[in-house]
Amino acid sequence: MNGLQAMQRLQTALDYTQRQISSGRRILNPSDDPIGSSRSLELRESISRLQQFDRNSTIVGSRLGQEESALSAVNNVLQRVRVLALQANNATQSNESRGLIAIEMREQLGNLVQLANQQDGNGSYLFAGNRGDTQPVSRTGSTFTYNGDQGQRFIQIGEGREIADSDSGAAVFFQIRNGNGTFSALPDPGNTGTGVVGAGSLVDPTLYDRGQYTVRFIDPDNYEVLDALGATVATASYQSGDTLAFSGIEFSLSGNPDTGDEFIVAPSRNQDVFSTIDRLAAAIGTATSSEATRAAMTNEINAGLLNLDQALGNILDTRTQVGSRLAAVEDQIDSNGSFVLTMQSALAEIQDLDYAEAISRLTAEVTTLEAAQKSFIRTQQLTLFNYF
């Protein structure tokens, strides 16, 4: 009776070891090792999450790559436009040659609009923010409208780590400060003199109050500076090439303004890159007939070049950000990968069978069972009745 039970127990143990060996798993049921099995559940969950993060990272990587190549093309267009504007600004250009430059510039503008309305492989617009179905840039006459939104999509690439896979067209093409980024100084359209505004800069941020100022020539050699309310802030005499400084800012002025000519200084506001190019092309394409109209054109081209530089700076900033995001994604893929390896080896330690141990256990169990069976047969034969 007892011997039989012992043999049954051995048989069960043998069967268990055999199942361990055939499955390669140390834990067959959670009750074999409750702590280990709940730990292995956690590990498997973490590994699966990390592998998902890897897939996410690949998607972010490819989207950022797409954005980067679009931005690179945008940069080329803007550089070309800049070269064209500089060419047009050269005094040796005739009205005809400038007309040809304006034509090319308009073509480049068309390219740029196309780039801004570029779609990804799934037909979603790259630069429409979250409104991927909406063509982001539309043109009515000389007005360019942004139809997307300012949203930015984030994708999780690691535990607690989200990264943007796009930039909205508003941020890339529309929210670009005009002038030098702080203020713009522009001639009044009604000027009759030949005053041309040069480069300006912020000298003392503590004095600059972001107000609007008007520089008005009392006579060709003297000017006054009025604030937004019409009060006189300063008066000074003028010579061509002077630097005008007031309220913490300064800019240079050359040429000969007429009496009553005005130059307006206003805080920078957003001007989209398309309008900038459109206005440049319009200014370049307009035939000049006098010193005054030439000065007006030069002012327009100067202003346009400033705005273009702002746009180029903005594209560069965005590309830098995209680049650093791409680097972050690469880093995250690496660190996710090494995490997965660590966790997989931890998981293997918990749930995988030590074959050497299991096989030696199997051998021992087989030996014991055989011995038990043999001794059982032998002892069952021992009885006094054999000698009757």
């Binding site: 009776m1 049921n29 099995s37 979250n130 409104r131 179905d133 939104d149 009885t383």
Partner: protein, 627 residues
Amino acid sequence: MPDLLNTSLTGMLAFQRALEITGHNISNANTPGYSRQVAEFTTRVGGGSGRNYVGGGTQISTIKRIYDNLLVEQLRTSATGQARFSALNNLAGRVDSLLADADTGLNTGLQNFFNTMQDVSNNPAEIPTRQALLGEADGLANRFRSLDQRLDTLESEVNDRLTLAVDEINRIAADIAETNDQIAIAGVGALPNDLLDRRDALVLELSGLVSVSTIMQDDGAMNVFVGSGQSLVLGANVQRFGTQASEFDPTRVSVVYEGSSGTTPLDTSLSGGTLGGLLEFRSRVLDPSRQSLGQTAVAFVNRFNAQHAAGMDLRGNLGGDFFAIDPPRVLYSSNNTGSGTVTAAIDDLGAFTGADYVLEFDGAAYSLSRADTGQNVALTGSGTAADPFLADGISIEVGGAAAAGDRMMIRGGHNAAGTIETVITDPRAIALAAPTRAQASIANIGDATISPARVADSTDPALLASSVIEFTSATSYTINGAGNFTYTDGDPIVINGSSVTINGTPAVGDQFTIEANYGASGDNSNGLLLTDIQSVGVLDGGAIGIGESYAQLVASVGGTAHQIQAGLDAQNVIYTNAEDAVLSKSGVNLDEEAANLIRFQQAYQAAAQVVNVTKTLFDSLLAATSR
């Protein structure tokens, strides 16, 4: 010499009887519960012959049953323990492997669902990916349901086995009572050994079903008691066990004692044996598992639906219910006399436990207690629709006219996992976008930026209305042209249920708009928040996440199963030892019987030889006197 003849005849008679006993022992060598019997010889007192007494031969005074009551009691106790652990181990092992199996367990389902959720967040505009999410959602709901169904099947199996065990107990009790009767009749003189063996075997069989205690009576009858002292067998009389639907749940079998003074429920007082093991499995493994699984299901569905409602779908509607799950189920006691009604709902997931509760009306007020521990649970509120009772994250509304003593059971999570369904069928109705967006006007001059809009209150009726924040100075703003609010850099501004923060220095006239997020097919803001549900704490005051909650269930059942397995191993050893002890005391040893056979045969032959001697003596005497 007639005395010598008599004396030798007593020997022959006694040895013949002894041989019969040996034969009986040999025949019953393999009869379970048989106790070896031994003939006890005593001398017969002879008559006097003058100064000396001469013996009158031998006789068998008793046929002794080799038996140790203590060992038999031990065997019964260990049989009770072994049967209990055996039933527990069998059932708990099945729950254990069911929950942790990669194919049937919840982990894989949750993991696949949330991974697809991430895929959808990566491509919120793609309909095929959205469709795949619906597929995974169905798969997950299915897993919840099938787990609950498998546990429900175990519950039915326990019901069936309880009924069988009770029938078996009644049959054995009747047999014991009948044997008691036979023993009382037969046992006037000597004890009927074989009937005693039979009764012991029956009691041992009964011990395997339920824990029993026995008391011997003077007339040889044995009284058997179970549970908390209920008599099962008294002499030749039997009290029956029965089964009936439990007080609250008509599908659950409850064991009752059908005493002379009505039925008494025994579910909590019975222990040990198969019956005890089944009841213990139900209260210790099955109920907590179903409750915990239900708790996980309720937490998942409610949390997910709440987040889904705070999003906007591809058609510009706010998210509807993604999954559906039944509210806590209310069961009425079969003893209720009033017409009170109770409805329960989930109020606070952080406090929700999934346990069963009993709500009792004492004629004036309601009180709530845990069904498993009986521990009182404090109720706040007044039980009306406007001010329901609140306890452990459940809101309870009472109505109708309950009578004093009426009881209702509120099951927090017990059946919940079986009722999960995916409600959404349209992939476009998955709300992955934020409901509102915040935009800075392109014409802004200041360098202030606005954060994306977050939902502060998805139930705000004006959530989708547009509003404009316009700055009247660098430190103050109006909303839709009204009011004069002070601007502090970085402070959250909540308008119509949306929350935004503005950073930086705004200029006069700068405008920021909060508006419905229509057309934002590429927005995954809410999708990311839905994905986060996998890792954020929901239960236990926000300390335990969904996956964690299930892992705890697996660990807890695994731990219990492990403990039961260890208990069974120990009980097997104890039982085998007890059985060995009884066998070595009472069992038949064939070698011993063989020796006895030879011994008694030789003694018989010797006694027969004495008869021969008597005859020779008598013949000698006749020959001497015949002349």
